[in-house]
Symmetry: C2
Subunit: 251 residues, 2 copies
């Protein structure tokens, strides 16, 4: 048992990030301002928006021309046609386009509302898209922080997703670098010595959710450090969290 438990700290002092900003020095400096010293093994969780903004994945709505479908459907349901157009263009599959809800599969394989296109916490007149390749972004930030300060951190990029059957949204991992996002207990023993048949925990999602508790939607805290939990070692990334359709009996 881990007697010191898990700690989650909001990363203080990050400025509003703009396209082209280098995230690594900003994060490295913010990490030195924590009440505890960052160290190898810690997990850095980043709201995807800070990554998207730095990578220029924000779009002025004025530059978007909605298709006839986006335009008519958005108007029918009181949605912004430009956001709908962006969401459609970010999608590789439409799961549902019904009663004002656009549920789409992104090119990464994530199924979420509006293919991750979001106006909240975006500059006026801008929409934020998901990073082009959140796993690559996470790996680059991880490598950059290792080079800048020597820390061997796990980096998780998170977004807030709704889900079927349950109210409310939770933070999940959309980019992972430095460990395996799943803790697969299948074939291992439970506390009674019984072999576990189906337990495979999406640890990176749980860590993303835990980090959300200090990040918040209204406080411009786009990053948190998590200490006291480890991902299993291995060459994993967030693609491990995408369940292939043919194996998804929950659909």
């Amino acid at each position: 048992m881990n007697n010191t438990g898990v700690r989650i700290l909001a990363l203080p002092g990050l400025p509003e990030v703009k396209p082209g900003d280098a995230l690594v020095p900003l994060l490295a400096e913010a990490l030195t301002k924590l009440p505890l010293q960052a160290r190898s093994g810690d997990i850095l969780v980043l709201a995807h928006k800070i990554v998207s903004k730095a990578e220029g994945r924000i779009v002025p709505l004025a530059a978007v021309t909605p298709s006839p479908l986006a335009d008519s459907w958005a108007r029918e349901w009181g949605r912004d046609p430009r956001v709908v157009e962006l969401a459609l263009s970010e999608s590789r599959r439409i799961v549902k386009l019904d009663r004002g809800v656009l549920l789409a599969e992104t090119r990464h394989g994530f199924v979420c509302a509006n293919a991750g296109v979001d106006l909240s916490n975006s500059p006026e007149g801008m929409a934020t898209l998901l990073p082009e390749d959140p796993d690559r972004s996470a790996a680059a930030i991880r490598a950059g922080l290792k080079e800048a300060a020597g820390w061997d951190l796990v980096v998780i990029i998170a977004d807030t997703f709704g889900r079927p059957w349950r109210e409310g949204q939770v933070n999940v991992a959309i980019g992972v670098a430095g460990g395996m996002p799943l803790s697969d207990y299948r074939g291992r023993k439970d506390g009674f010595g019984r072999t576990l048949q189906s337990t495979c925990i999406a640890r990176a999602d749980e860590i993303a959710s835990a980090a959300e508790l200090v990040m918040g939607k209204r406080r411009r805290v786009p990053a948190a450090l998590v200490r006291g939990v480890r991902l299993e070692e291995g060459p994993g990334d967030a693609s491990n969290l995408v369940r292939p359709a043919d194996r998804d009996l929950f659909r």
Copy 2:
């Protein structure tokens, strides 16, 4: 911003719980053994199994007679017919019974595999069911701990659920007492002063997931204390986390 962050501590020293055991004194004693003193405002997260066991919601498999449907389907897919029978009897609706997966809506409204019936971390030859009314259980434990030790805690009872589209399971809240499980930001302002349209965070689920990071499936740690995050005040319970079918466009 919360500068001390969130802490999550595994509750040490809980014995294996048996039907009829009084949980409150066991929990009260375990809480005094933490490296930090429990106090009002803390959140106690309990794996549902400890609650189910105390409430006698464990069933000897030898006493279960499978129906013809349970028997034939279970045999076809290499499942235990008695577990399938228990799961069917715990269900109020079958979402899917296909290719070895039984996805069901429990009488509480939760949609999960096997209606929450589980062999793991159960005594040999026994299956554990979900508590009859996890909100009532949470409220009783909360009231009992308040009376026993004066702590005004939030109590969350958690189980591990799979979900569509994503691999792996995460801990979610199936019983909540002492606060609102959802943090509804709709109508409030984001960091840019923009009114949030759709952000409603399932905070109790995120807290359940965070607690799982110290609880684990193999270590017999069925409880954790979470400090540094609060549920909004109000008369909420886990029924607030069940999305009514007619409002669930994610289905």
